[in-house]
Assembly symmetry: D3
Homo-oligomer: 284 residues x 6
Amino acid sequence: MIYFTDSEIDQLITEDLPYFDLTSLSVKLGSKVARISFTTRHSTVLCGTEEVIRIFEKFHIQPTLLSVSGEYIDEGIKFLEGEGLAKNIHSIWRVTANLMEFSSGIATRMRELVTLAQAVNKDISVVTTRKSQPFTKKLSLKAIQTGGGNAHRLGLSDTVLIFNNHIKFIGGLDMMISKLPQIAKRAAGRSITVEVQNSEDALKIAGAQLDGIQLDKIPAGELKKLVPKIRKINPSLRIAATGSISASNIQEFADTGVDIIVTSFPYYGRPADFQVNIEPVFDL
Amino acid sequence: MIYFTDSEIDQLITEDLPYFDLTSLSVKLGSKVARISFTTRHSTVLCGTEEVIRIFEKFHIQPTLLSVSGEYIDEGIKFLEGEGLAKNIHSIWRVTANLMEFSSGIATRMRELVTLAQAVNKDISVVTTRKSQPFTKKLSLKAIQTGGGNAHRLGLSDTVLIFNNHIKFIGGLDMMISKLPQIAKRAAGRSITVEVQNSEDALKIAGAQLDGIQLDKIPAGELKKLVPKIRKINPSLRIAATGSISASNIQEFADTGVDIIVTSFPYYGRPADFQVNIEPVFDL
Amino acid sequence: MIYFTDSEIDQLITEDLPYFDLTSLSVKLGSKVARISFTTRHSTVLCGTEEVIRIFEKFHIQPTLLSVSGEYIDEGIKFLEGEGLAKNIHSIWRVTANLMEFSSGIATRMRELVTLAQAVNKDISVVTTRKSQPFTKKLSLKAIQTGGGNAHRLGLSDTVLIFNNHIKFIGGLDMMISKLPQIAKRAAGRSITVEVQNSEDALKIAGAQLDGIQLDKIPAGELKKLVPKIRKINPSLRIAATGSISASNIQEFADTGVDIIVTSFPYYGRPADFQVNIEPVFDL
Amino acid sequence: MIYFTDSEIDQLITEDLPYFDLTSLSVKLGSKVARISFTTRHSTVLCGTEEVIRIFEKFHIQPTLLSVSGEYIDEGIKFLEGEGLAKNIHSIWRVTANLMEFSSGIATRMRELVTLAQAVNKDISVVTTRKSQPFTKKLSLKAIQTGGGNAHRLGLSDTVLIFNNHIKFIGGLDMMISKLPQIAKRAAGRSITVEVQNSEDALKIAGAQLDGIQLDKIPAGELKKLVPKIRKINPSLRIAATGSISASNIQEFADTGVDIIVTSFPYYGRPADFQVNIEPVFDL
Amino acid sequence: MIYFTDSEIDQLITEDLPYFDLTSLSVKLGSKVARISFTTRHSTVLCGTEEVIRIFEKFHIQPTLLSVSGEYIDEGIKFLEGEGLAKNIHSIWRVTANLMEFSSGIATRMRELVTLAQAVNKDISVVTTRKSQPFTKKLSLKAIQTGGGNAHRLGLSDTVLIFNNHIKFIGGLDMMISKLPQIAKRAAGRSITVEVQNSEDALKIAGAQLDGIQLDKIPAGELKKLVPKIRKINPSLRIAATGSISASNIQEFADTGVDIIVTSFPYYGRPADFQVNIEPVFDL
Amino acid sequence: MIYFTDSEIDQLITEDLPYFDLTSLSVKLGSKVARISFTTRHSTVLCGTEEVIRIFEKFHIQPTLLSVSGEYIDEGIKFLEGEGLAKNIHSIWRVTANLMEFSSGIATRMRELVTLAQAVNKDISVVTTRKSQPFTKKLSLKAIQTGGGNAHRLGLSDTVLIFNNHIKFIGGLDMMISKLPQIAKRAAGRSITVEVQNSEDALKIAGAQLDGIQLDKIPAGELKKLVPKIRKINPSLRIAATGSISASNIQEFADTGVDIIVTSFPYYGRPADFQVNIEPVFDL
């Protein structure tokens, strides 16, 4: 669903294979045929098999078992298998495992967050910040979607999100509020959200010409009281909570009645762990 | 020290800034001038400031305070500061923070490992596996070096490392040993290492025509007895230990007398956390 | 404001200069110094000088007069001038003129639309469709912004816009309306707009869980009656009009009370026309 | 016939699809299958289907009806059709339409010029200037060829074309003429053309060591008298006319007896207009 | 004069420096400052210093002595020198030497050919075939020009050159001749050359509607008789000789009266040989 | 075995085919079908057919005879043949021939060196320096491997090789020796080699903490006496000889007992020479 260009697939490959696989060359695998299989070591929301298939194709490896991104795979299940020349399979073993382990790790954490949050508030959205690891945005975004979320913003160009760092340049909160009609005009129809750090500011801007309000680092208890007050002032305002929200506290925040949870949590943590087996099949 | 191409720097920028910073455009920062500063929130081995400076240059931001990769920065210290147009500074705020937080996180974990290991065995090397996160190899490698380590292998092309997955294709361990002269000939002078999972196999290959032996998932206690036996058979063999070695157990492994510890530990975990301040300076 | 990568600037240059300027080489301009100047042939909203300056830098041409994107330049005004080696100036004459003429043409048409529309309805936004000319999206987008507009959508990834071509796949309009809560959940906080082609459908969806409604090819007269009815049903719905709206009819549409005009008009038409002079300065 | 690299095809796709088609994802098209068809809204010289097929392939869309670049398609004719997953078809609907509309517009205008000109002078060539829209040179060139023309020059590197802007740097027209042997030597066999703006200069250079003469902005009436005089002086000189030549006046210029018409006319104007239909086929 | 993009310069660097200079890192050059100098080991037509300067800039190396491409440098002359951090200088030592040695080798051989040929026939052009080494076309072309020649064709797109391999597809030589008017029409003003392998065919096509004739592998003696006969038939035809022409026989071919010599000779052979010295300057 | 990215293959193609094959277009090959065949003109170690096949695929040319890289082909043997549209075959004729001729030339020279050297010393390795021609490293490396060798170093990042140019920055040879433990620690397990130019220095460093010693420009006669002395001091040291070693003298050096010969010889010299035939097959 996420479109990777051919150059991006090639970049992944050449990160690990700048020229050749010296080991396969040196041990001389010749025309031997191998089967590679990937098996979960713990329950996992799978991600990245579509890209692995594209790597397989470049190395003439036929998939013989294939699961798709988004499947929930229990521990100990073989979910992907391919056959091809042993030298080719050895050449892409690590890069394919790495790609799936990284993205499945994120997808699994994302799914966990969504499941926890929607258990408390079935209509809530869980979205991620722009703090994906450098160079991994597209792959991270695929994993986030696979896990049932989305990015809050794809980058700086698609929506307006006014932080405190902007407000100080335009004369403070009151001045910013008075400028919102002009800001909206310049945004030309794009949605506008303002982030605040306390209830007082939240209530001050709730009635302004805004599409959304983002509440940063306000404790869940306080938030639970604040949200209805905001709703009362502006029922159509999209309310987001953010600030160190993780699997351990997302239910408290989901329970506050906000529409959206914004978090960086899924980006970090260990990759999924897959067992990779390479077995001889027969000689061509 | 690591050379990033201009396209790589641009790729980082455009991940977050595909077209423009809609917020800065909409709030109309005009010709306002700002100062951005970065301050540690915990003690950190700094990494990535050289690349941030290149991003600064592209946005005409003058650095007014600059620390270099590899410096150890205590908690609460401002280590980087730049001045330029507010709209430019807002455009690169997140991408510069992200880049340094990601790489400093790795560098800090790497330095921790090296410090722990060398406290026990001052001549030991700590190196990392090829399991860096997809698309981040160059940046991860910079962080690894900044932290005092190196990559065990840069990729598949530079050295020979024979895993069990290779051995089964060439007729088992004994057959592999008998083929080592031919393997060495094909490797044409490149160093050759074999990985084994138990002491018996280790002792079997210790006398073979090898440069290194890698001992995978052998407990530290067993390793401590094994290493002298290997040394006795072949004093010039480079001995590496690998398999789930982290900050919590590296000293046990360092104490076994191996020459090299191979680990993926620094790649994972949370990024460093920096406080970013953007303040108005004056209007041009 | 739009960030062009260095590779994009180089791509522009090499489109015209794959290797060298054979004419300059053959007539042997040697170390002669020249001044290049650009003068409007008609009143123009200028665009693209920032990128021209970057091309100048690559060819060591010093700008001696510089206007910025967004300036309105009367007919017959010299707005950009640079000095450098004659051979370098001849090498980039066409590419710099082309770049500014193309983007200034779009910016001028965009400004015209915005001025016309806001003369009738000062709060209206004028935005463009995704029908920019192939390969020119970033440059076209710069011109659109320079002219006072924005893109309605940056591409397929940032917002949800449901066309008739989607509706037929999900069981028709009523079924689509019933699915909107699920759609919103999958969109995870992104704004959702539905396009309809007649008043009946418009009124049917006006009360649905939507952020915007896009009215395609409905005549301005009919639209003027429709808009208040929609507003009555849902005052916070963002209403857009689209379908062959150009400079000749935008005021009729602006007068209907819609919030947004969506058009492809600025993308087409002739480039701006600039007179380019290259004069000898002196020999180095 | 024009070779587009895979990266160029991918660049087209990602201009519109940086990550995913959020609408298709949100309305959940699942495994639905669709047929996309393209139908002319006016008679058109078709261009770009070969590139569309390459985009189809990347999204596993099977073409079920295919016309090739260069075919003349009457109004109301379906000329291209493909079947594939509905989500894939929606993802590339706009980009494929855009590509063909842009290039078919140019091809149609080019064919019109060629037809008009050759009706008057069957041996005349119609070629285009270097003023293609930025970043579109390759695609524009494909369209120009498809329409029966060629580029006058592919860029600055392939032939020598001496403009007035060069002549002033080498001491004026007479001096330039005297330097032509040296210029020819440096051009090493490449063809050399000089552009002049009046009959006097034209006659002055007609006898010089040149391959071509380009007559800029000389009225057709004057040109008709001038051409035989030039032919008399140098029968093998290639004579080109240029300067605001369009469909409305090309026959006057073709009638002057020149060998070549040089124009920017086909690059500008509206794209061709195709009706795009996407219909459900069945569920897989 | 040849424009290299920044990516091309970076590609050269990263061919040798994929990540870092491990030797400089390991021997710890710290803040030591060095001077690098390049000295000819034999007389050389210098090429590539402009690109070396761009590499210097990327590594903050100041040139302190600089010669330009095209200078003839005697044996034993220091022609380029730069100062910077020792670790940076070591990082680019080989890549800068390689670049200049490769291109200066070609430039020197090209200059030799031109000098030899023009000693016999002062108006003759010497140009090269399309057989440059893979991936080196731009750099080879720079060297060819620096040596006083040009490429016969930049590639397949700029001129028409009909080989025997084409003629057999269009019905033989006579049929091809009869089709020349149509071919010329499709070439739309581009120059047309036909290659033949014997005098009979040469005389047969000499009167056809052609711009050039290329005589392949006809011995110089035969050629000397053939050229005047061709001139008599068509005085304006451009006559080229090709086929294993090198420094050892070019004068015989130049003496035949042809206008152009086409050869691959300069592409092959050893690079120029430069002595590179790196000396400590002082510590910063 | 060497992995070329799709962009690298496309770069090769577009070097020669920036837009289209003007000759094929002009002579109008239409739907004619052709067979291209490649035949050796001298005995050759073949290289590059795998990449040619990828070019064939992009132009829909079916291989009907295929040899693989590494095969030794006698003079006059047809080794590759493909069928496809004549216009496509003409478009890639030169680029495919060039690619194979360049790389087969290197492979053939490399095989010659290896055969000569191993005739004298069956266990010796022959490897190449980093002096491959600019931009050709990957292709050259493929050829080197195909010929039975390897690169001594892939670039600056994979091993430590200390030259005299480094030694002068760290206080001379003795000081360098004393620093070797620290150097080894920073190299973190990578192999360390030192190059010296005379026997005295060689003996001085033979006992140091090194993996290899490289003996530069020491005459074979002297070397033969030196090698046993080095072996006696340190039997596990890898001994390499370098400095103007070519096919004419490699046996003398192989006979000295060194482990490795390092040479640039295969990179230079004429490409292999293949006869290319293109024949009509039939009309589609």
